[in-house]
Structures are given as structure tokens and as C-alpha cells.
Symmetry: D2
Subunit: 355 residues, 4 copies
């Protein structure tokens, strides 16, 4: 009889539960990790609302760290007991999309996002890691589980938003919405040479975090049209790049509006909640001739990416932990998830620790 573990699952749309599942065993190229800490992502809230067609009873979660529990027969270079993090995206690295440099699209659109979407997620006491050679990221001794966990999705996605914005040294960047991914984009814009970062956010505690993470200006859209405020702040010229971290057509359109000719819109918002198409207003889009460009993407995975993110944390250049507003044991996962659903008590990111 297999040994059992606890897993936080979605029995059906709109429901969650903690249930028992067998501890998984690794295939030849896989590993199994025993979870020590995890973060809850708003994507899981979307999933439970029904945004993603998933198998009933699938385990939720995709931001977890732990220790190597078992290694597949073909996996070399790791040892059981080693501390590791695993990115939310776990590519095969070998398909056409991976070879073309789009590892997040492994096998097809969004295909690198396996946890919950295709297989059991990792808000559980144990989880499987595909293509372990490329996806197991050893955590340096000096790095806490908490910090490492931020690399699994938040920092990798937010920084990608800034990378896709192709920021020139000293350029001005607007970041729409300062949830954990938007905050990470604010950090990322600073890491990549922005001369000015304008954050759009209305909640005071997130405005405060935005400033702490390097925003020069904070625009509160409850105090007036965000586009107008940004145009005013930039002398009517607009920004060089805008990062969409909210996931709504209006915000996306605002990004197009605030960028100057030659500007870049970088999308990291998840547009799965609102069924309307995104729109590009003709005037702001320069009739399709203003040298504006739009870039999209999904959390870059792989342990090489993870190692570089770890280095940014280790050296003290980045510290995302001020985003951790709440801490729970895995026993309280349902309370934590419920708070993320309702965004109560100023919650930004809750850390879940496993006994």
C-alpha cells in the first residue's frame, strides 16, 4: 500500500478541500520533492473560480520549495535531502517550442504551466518534478525557503515583464497594478535600468510597497484617470514602456495609451477572468504605424533562471519578503486561501509552511 500525504485540492469548481493522496513516485527523468514552504497565488483563486478547465480533485499550487525526496533512475547531479525550489513552469526543454526559446510554451500555448493545469499542483506534502535535470533548482544554504519561493513565479514573472519591456537605460516605465507580480515588475524595472518608475495602484499598503521597491511616482486611479495622470507626470509625452499586471481590457488599453511612439507594452496580467477581447484604440496605437510593440509571456522556468534569481537575492540586491503579509501552517491552508479569495486584511502574499 502506498504511503499517503495531504494535498490541497479542488474537488469541483468553486470548492477546495484538503484530502489524502498517495505520495507520488518519480519516473526515470523525474524527481519527487517533499514540500517545506509554498506561496498561494491568485492564479489558483482564478482556477477555483473556473477560469481553467482542470481535472476534478486536482491538487492546487505552483510556488513551492522543499527537499529532494526521491530521484528518477536517469536523474544525475542531485542528492536526496537537498534543498530545492521548482518554478511554476516546468518545461521539457526539448520540444519545438522549447528549442525555439519559448520554454513556457512547452508543447504548445502555455504548455509549460503543468501544475494544476495538467498534473497535480504542489500545495501538497510531496510533488513531482518533470525533467528534473532542468527543473530542480538547488537553494543556496544562505537563502531562506521564503525568499526562494518568491522565485517560483512572482519574481520570475514580474522580472519577465520588465525584460519584455526592453527598457533602455534611464527610460520611464509605468507599471499598472501593484499586486505581487506588479510589485515584482516594479523591482524588475529598477533592476533593468529604468530612470523613472510610475506605479499605478489604489490600495495604500500596496502603494507603500511600490515605493519601497523603487517606484518614483504612485498614481492612484481612484483620484482621477490613470492615463491622464501619467501623461501629466510625463509632460504630455507618455512613457517608454508600460507593464500590464492587472489583467483587464481597460488596463491593457491604458498601457497602449500611455506609451509614446516607439514604446513597448509588456503584458504579465492574466486575462482569463474577463471574456471580452483586448482592444487597441486606433489613435493611441498610431493606426498601427507608431512603432509601438506589444509583448506577452508566461513565467520563465528552468533551474538556470532560478539560480540567477537566487543570486539577486543572495547578494542583497532584491528582497521580496516585505510582500509576505501573512504566514500560516499547512494546517491552515483553507483559511489562507479564503483570505486570498477575498483579499482581506491587506493580504498581499501568504507564506505556507509545512511541518
Amino acid at each position: 500500500m502506498p504511503q499517503m500525504m495531504n494535498a490541497f485540492v479542488m474537488p469541483e469548481v468553486g470548492k477546495t478541500a484538503v484530502t489524502q493522496k498517495p505520495i507520488p513516485e518519480p519516473g526515470p527523468e523525474e524527481a519527487v520533492v517533499r514540500t517545506t514552504a509554498a506561496l498561494i497565488c491568485t492564479s489558483d483563486v482564478h482556477t477555483v473560480k473556473g477560469a481553467l478547465p482542470v481535472a476534478p480533485g486536482v491538487t492546487l499550487g505552483h510556488e513551492a520549495v522543499g527537499v529532494v525526496h526521491a530521484l528518477g533512475s536517469a536523474v544525475e547531479g542531485f542528492t536526496e535531502g537537498q534543498r530545492v525550489a521548482v518554478n511554476a513552469v516546468t518545461p521539457c526543454f526539448r520540444c519545438e517550442y522549447c528549442q525555439s526559446g519559448f520554454t513556457s510554451q512547452c508543447g504548445g500555448p502555455l504548455g509549460g504551466y503543468r501544475y494544476t493545469a495538467q498534473v497535480d499542483g504542489n500545495m501538497a506534502e510531496y510533488f513531482v518534478v518533470p525533467a528534473a535535470k532542468g527543473n530542480l533548482a538547488p537553494i543556496p544554504d544562505e537563502l531562506s525557503d521564503e525568499k526562494a519561493a518568491y522565485c517560483c513565479d512572482m519574481l520570475s514573472t514580474g522580472f519577465m515583464g520588465a525584460e519584455h519591456a526592453r527598457i533602455g537605460l534611464g527610460e520611464t516605465v509605468a507599471v499598472f497594478a501593484q499586486g505581487p507580480v506588479g510589485l515584482s515588475a516594479t523591482i524588475g524595472a529598477n533592476l533593468l535600468g529604468a530612470g523613472r518608475v510610475i506605479a499605478v495602484e489604489s490600495r495604500p499598503e500596496r502603494q507603500e510597497l511600490a515605493r519601497r521597491f523603487g517606484a518614483d511616482d504612485v498614481v492612484d486611479f481612484t483620484h482621477g484617470d490613470a492615463v491622464e495622470q501619467i501623461m501629466d507626470l510625463t509632460g504630455g509625452v507618455g512613457v517608454d514602456a508600460a507593464i500590464e499586471a492587472f489583467g483587464f481590457p481597460q488596463t491593457f488599453e491604458a498601457c497602449v495609451r500611455v506609451t509614446k511612439a516607439g514604446g513597448r507594452v509588456s503584458n504579465i496580467g492574466y486575462h482569463g477572468e474577463n471574456p471580452e477581447p483586448l482592444t487597441l484604440p486606433l489613435d493611441a496605437f498610431g493606426l498601427g504605424m507608431a512603432d509601438k510593440s506589444i509583448h506577452t509571456g508566461l513565467c520563465p522556468g528552468g533551474n538556470t533562471r532560478m539560480a540567477r534569481l537566487f543570486q539577486l537575492l543572495l547578494s542583497g540586491r532584491v528582497d521580496p519578503t516585505p510582500m509576505t503579509t501573512h504566514r500560516f501552517g499547512f494546517d491552515d491552508i483553507e483559511t489562507a486561501f479564503s483570505m486570498m479569495q477575498d483579499k482581506t486584511d491587506g493580504i498581499v502574499k501568504p507564506l505556507i509552511t509545512f511541518a
Copy 2:
């Protein structure tokens, strides 16, 4: 009293006329060119329909070649009588946008497009060339006026469409619409390493030109949905890049639909005729996470660009003249323009020669 010349003008929206204007004189950094040949562009048709707010009586035209008639006091390196072409876009090269590499956005959105939009166009016996040092492009002796004229807009714009598509060697590219700019994009996709070019077009004579210019497949959207046909041709996978050379929201959306994850949409269509915004369907756009990108731009100008285009013609790698379906003297400019408005007699591109 100034010497007078004939100019083809737009007295008001919906009207055209040939009228007399003074032969212009160059400012210190300008030149004046005596026109020898020109091409009519469908953009001018749009302008006459009222798509662009222009001064009443403005001269039309932006694809002209000629000989240097007069040089401003500060212009060195050219001689009167020298054969030259001038791109539709004439940047200053020195403003913020030009220094940032967006010379077509000189001074602001679409600002490098001066002829007709800001100053008199060049469908006239003489015309002014701003920033002559960078905008007068000497025509090599071996190159005909006709070939050189294609570099002023058609080839430069169409090739930009292919450049912005960032085609990897051997990749598959779809080009929507095979008017002169779309045909130029088809040539361009071949010049830049495409392994397969799928052209979308319904008119037989343009389909024929598309094949002649290197299209491997021609999709006729009157025989079924173009998106479906392209998906079928690519085994359900889609293309690496799609070039929009039509200027309609449906075509733009089709470009998003036919590109695979990681694909690029490159817009060269003029979206000034249709007031509806462009839309990005969420599924095809991968909820904003499929690593798709969208690129836009406006005809790249400058005599360095022109010299490189000339070299492609001189060496025989490119010959756009099969697009010249009709030839007229400037005396017949109104007939020619009327045919372009109605697209009669299978017209693709009419060449206008000046006595």
C-alpha cells in the same frame, strides 16, 4: 515673380486637381528636386477620402524620384543635376524619437511622414527635401527611375514588415493581402530567410504576382476562412509570423489567430479607414501569456536605407517592376489617380513620368 510649376493637389476632401504653385526654394539644410518619376500610393486615396486631416490645397504624393534642382546653403556632398530618390519619410534625424531609433516617428507619432501630412507632397514638378544630407538618396547610374521609386515607400515598408516579423531561418510566414506593400512583404520575407511564405489574396493577378515574388502557397479567402486554410496548410500548428498588409480589424485578428505560441504579428496595414479598434481575441492571444508579440511601424526613411535597397535592386536580387501595371505621363495624373481609387483594370501600381 516666382517661377511656377504644376502640382497635383487636394482642394478639399473628396476632390483632386492639378494646379499651379511656385517652384519652392530650399532652406539652408534643404534641397529642391525636379521630379522625373513618381508612383501613386493608395495612402493618397485614403487621404483624399478624408482619412488624414490635411491643409486644403496641399500637394499629394510621397513616392518620387528626380534630379537635384537646388541645394540649401548648408548642404554638402551633392551636386545639382544629380539623380536622386527621396523616401516617403524624411526624418530630421536629431530629435528625441530619431535619436531613439524611431526616425519614422520624428518629432512624435508618425511625424516623419511629412509629405502631404505636414507639407506639400511630391506629386508635382518640384518638391522640397528636408534634412537633405540624410534624405537625398543618389540613384546609381545603372538603376532606372522606376526601380528607384519603388524604394520610396513600397519596398521600404514591405521589407520593414518582414524585418519586424523577426523571421528565423526557415520559418513559416503568412502575409495577409497582396497589394503593392503586401507583395513587398512577400519579397521581404523571402529576403530574410523564410522557409515558407503563405500569401492571402483573392484577386488572380495579385495571386500571380505573389507566386512570382516567392509565395509558396496562396490562400484565397473567398474560398473559405483564411485562418482555417492556413491552419490546415500548417498541420494545425500555425505560422511563426504573420504580416498584416490590409488594414482591417478582421485581418489583424486573423494574424493573431494564425500565429503559434511565440509568434510575431507585424503590422504594415494602414488602419485609418475603419474607425473600430483592433481586437485581440483572448484565446488566440493566449490570455496575454503565449509569448506572442505585435510589432508596428511606418516606412523607414533615410538615404542609408535607400542605398541598401538600391543595392538589392542593382544586384538583381529584387525586381519590383512587375507591379507596374500601368504607365502615365503627369498630364494624365487624374486618370491614373481615379483608377487607383476604383482599382479598375487590375491596377496594382501606376508609374507617372514627368516630361
Copy 3:
């Protein structure tokens, strides 16, 4: 007892032989291919001269096509009997270097080049393919073994030379030496938008091939200094990019000399024969400030690259077979190899077919 096969090996430096080895068996992620055709590469000549430290008795060869003989237990998506080609470089796709986009440097410098260097090569009746999912390239029915074999190294390497030269549309490119890789670079420069290609070569039959493959000018260095001739051909200005396909310090230096400020030198020559360091002359290198850049690389592998190269052949855009000057059965491999060593009878590339 294992079944045996014939293999063309290097018993010691300076010697070659055909010997019997066991037919290999695939590991879980590997495949074994039965060879049907192969090309001999001058790299193997270098290896036999002692340029590379290899195991005594190692099998030579790295440009082979065949049919799938056996598949490892974890390999999906292929069938036994399927026609396949395998690139000279067979990355794991999962190590740090592969994840960073440098798959040819898999595991470390030049590490993706496994055949002969690390394991048995494929000038044998059967050979092993590591990471089969990413390295087995199905050959389309319409494509001959001969054409497919050119993708294993010659075209992939030569085209990379042109890709690394970052050729702008219509730019001028010099390609030094017109052996099979240099000829492939000449094809590649044309594929990627060059407006003028200047080939440097002294042997008449290779000059002829260069012209056939798109060289506009051929410079014969036995008729005068190649640098001077290229400067003359370009009006004293030099070229935008130079590709080194010879592998000597003098040629490399000439590439630096003929490029204009802002120019790129792309190296594809193998510099393992000559022990002297490459040198960058200070004047031509602009004292390190002329915006010149130097790029290097090793044959890009992977079946996605291969599929794109196949598409260029299938569509008729590229046909490398005029390089096949000689054809032999595997029985005559030693004769063929000896001719490649001495470059007799105008040999460019000999095709070896297996019974």
C-alpha cells in the same frame, strides 16, 4: 553475443581503419540509427592529424542520416524505420548552457559536439543519438538523404555564420574561403538579406560554386592582397560584415581589417590547426572603440533547427548538392577520406552511401 557492425575509426593519431564494433543499444532517452548516408568533414581530417584529443579507436564522423533502428524506453513520438537525420551537435537541452541558449556549448565549451570528441562518431553502420526527443530529425519524404545530410553540419554552421553576422537588409558581406562551410555561409548571407556578397577563394571550381550560390564578386587572394581588393571593391569603405570560414590567424585578421566601423566579424573557421593566437590589429580594430564586434559559434543542433533547414531545401530555396563532387560506397570510405585529406581531384564534399 552482440551483433556486430563496421565502423570507420581512428586507431591512433595519423591512422584510420575500418573495424568491427558491436551494434550499440539505446539508453532510456536515446535512439540508435542505422546509417544510410553520410558526408565526410574536414574536421575529421583535423582530428586524425591530432587536433582533438580523442580516445584511441573512436569512430569518426558526425554528418549522417539513416533510419531509426531502436528507441530508448522513454522516447516517444518516433517509430522504428523512420528516416531521420542527426545534427553533428547533439545537446542535452537541459544544462545551464543549453538553458542559456548556447546548446552547442552543452555542459561547457564545445560540449554539444559529442560524436568522435566524446563518444563514437557516426561514420559507422549504426550510431547512438542522445536526447533523442530533441535530436532525431524526421526527414520529409520528398527530401533525399543527400540533401538532408548537408543540414547535419555544413548548412547549419554556414548559416550560423551569416546569422551571427547580423546582416542588415542590403548590406555587403565578405566570406573568406569557399570550402563547404564557406559556401554555405555564402548561401546563408543571401538567405538573410545581403545586398552584395564578396567571396574570397582561389580554386576555380570553388569560385564557380561561390558564384552559383550567390556571390556577386569573387576575390582571388593569389592575385593580390584580399583586404586591398575588398577595399577597392567597396570604394575604400569596407564591408558591413565579414565571415571567417578558413581558420587561420591571417584570415581572421583580414576580416577585422575589411569591416567598416560598426561592422561584425563572424567566425566559423576552425582554429585548431594553427597554435598561434588570433590577433586584432589596433588600427583596424579602432583601438577597441570602433563599434566592431566579433562573434563565434559552433554548429547549431536540435531537430527544430533541422526541420527549418529541411524546409529551405524542400521549398527549393536552397540546394547544396552541387557541392557533392564525389560519391562512394562505405566500402570505399578510406579512399574517400584520403582524398579529403589531400584535397585531390577538386574534391569539395564526398557523399558516402551505406548498403
Copy 4:
């Protein structure tokens, strides 16, 4: 009779003097600036040693700020009395090289570097600014002359060194030599996302500055071979990119040696003092096949670049003033220059102010 001004000139190789020259007058596209502050550059020391062939009596200096004294007839958008900085490189923006994006190579190799090399420099009470529209950079009120002056060469060059290193987020970068340009590269590597910066320097005060500007490790080459120390620090792997800010063949070679496969060497050192060619050791250069690349360049100019650098200073992200070790009035220019020649008293960068 023209009004006279004082200028710091080089009467002949090895000599300097302060002499009287007429206050210059601007041509139509030029401006004349009255100098208020300037920095002395070691390049001028090289020039006085004879490294650059210059006209006898030419004025030295190329890092100056001031106020607009006179504007040419064709210059719009500026006012007399306005505070401005002017980059060491003053491109025309319109020649072939400028249009190709290589504005520092305006007109040909290193041609954008006009001051002292082609015309009088700006270590004088007044100086001429060519192509004023693109080269006059208004200084924001809140920005001191001193800070602005660092943008004229030091920061623009040092940051270019980091830009050319194409640093991926979290990558490791070595910067060889921590003079003012090397220190600026250290700042730049941090601005552009490096996860670890290793500075090579032996002088304690420069080591201290390097740490202050973000170096994680400082390697002292007087304590052992720098290459070995860097390999040790990186676990034998080497760095992703190395920046040469010293200008010697040995340092350049060390940069090649410490970069891993796929790594970039970015040169900002001036190699005009040592007549030997730079060398690329074959093993470290991977026989020309290790995907290493080498990039070079010269201080990027233009007021758009300057405005972005100003923004980095204004926002507090960058403060180069700790490099200002000494301050002099223009009366003491010869003392200051002499100290720069001999590098006495721990001098890094002396600021010269004008009455």
C-alpha cells in the same frame, strides 16, 4: 576685433599651456556654450603623450557643461543662458554611420569624437557645439553641474560597457580596472541587472569606490593572477561577461579567459598607448567556436542619451560624485592636469570650475 577667451591647449606633443583664443561664433546649425564646469579625462593625458595625431595648439578637453552663449540661425528650441551639457561625442546624426545606429562613428571610425581630435576641445571658457539640436542637453534645475559633467563621457562610456556586455538578469560580470570609466561600468552592471559584480583593482581608494558602487567582490591583481582569482570565485566556471576598462592587451586577454562559453567581452579601454595587437588565446577563445563574442564602442552621445542619464542622477539611482577626489578653478588647470598625468594623491577625477 573678436573677444578673447582662455583655453587649455597642447602646443606640441608633451606640452600643455593656457593661451588666448577668440571666442568662437556658431555656424547655422551650431551653438556656442560658455563653460561653467569640466572634468579632466585621462584620454587627454594620452593625447598629450602623442597617442592621437592632433593639430598643434588644439584645445584639450571634452567633458564640459555650461550655459548657452550663442545659437546658430537654424537652431530652435533652446535659449541663451540655458544650462546645458554636451557629450564628448557630437554626431551629425545624418551620415551613413549615424543612420546605421553608430553615431559615435559619425563619418567613419571614431569620427563622432570631434573635440581635440578634429576641432578645438572644450577645456576653454567657450566652445562650439555642432548639430546643436541633437547635441545640446538641457540640465534640469535640480541637477548640479558636477553631476551633469559625469554624463559627458564617464557614465555614458561606462554604462555602454555594461550595455554591450548584454547582461542577463542575475548574471555575473567582471570589470577590469576601476578608474572612472571602470567604476562607471561597475555602476552600469548593477543598473542593468547583474547578480554579481567582480571588480579588478589594486589601489585601495579605487577598491573602496568599487564596493561603494556595487562591486560584490574585489580582486587585487597584485595578490595573484586575476584570472585565477576570478575562476576561483566562480567555482572554476568563469563569468557571463567581462568588461575591459584598462586598455592593455593582457587585460583584454584576461577578459577572454575569464568568460565562460557563451560569454561576452565588452571593451571600453582605450588601446592607443600600447602598440601591440590584442590577442585572442585559442584555448580560451574555444578555437573560435565557443559562442563568445567581443563588443567595442565609443562614448554614446546625443542629448536623448544625456537626458536619460540625467534622469538616473535626478532620481537618486546614480551618484558619481564620490569619484570627484579633487576640485580646482580653471586658473589651476595645469596643476590639475599634471596630477592626472602622474595620478598623484589618489586622484580619480578632478572637477574644474570656471569663474
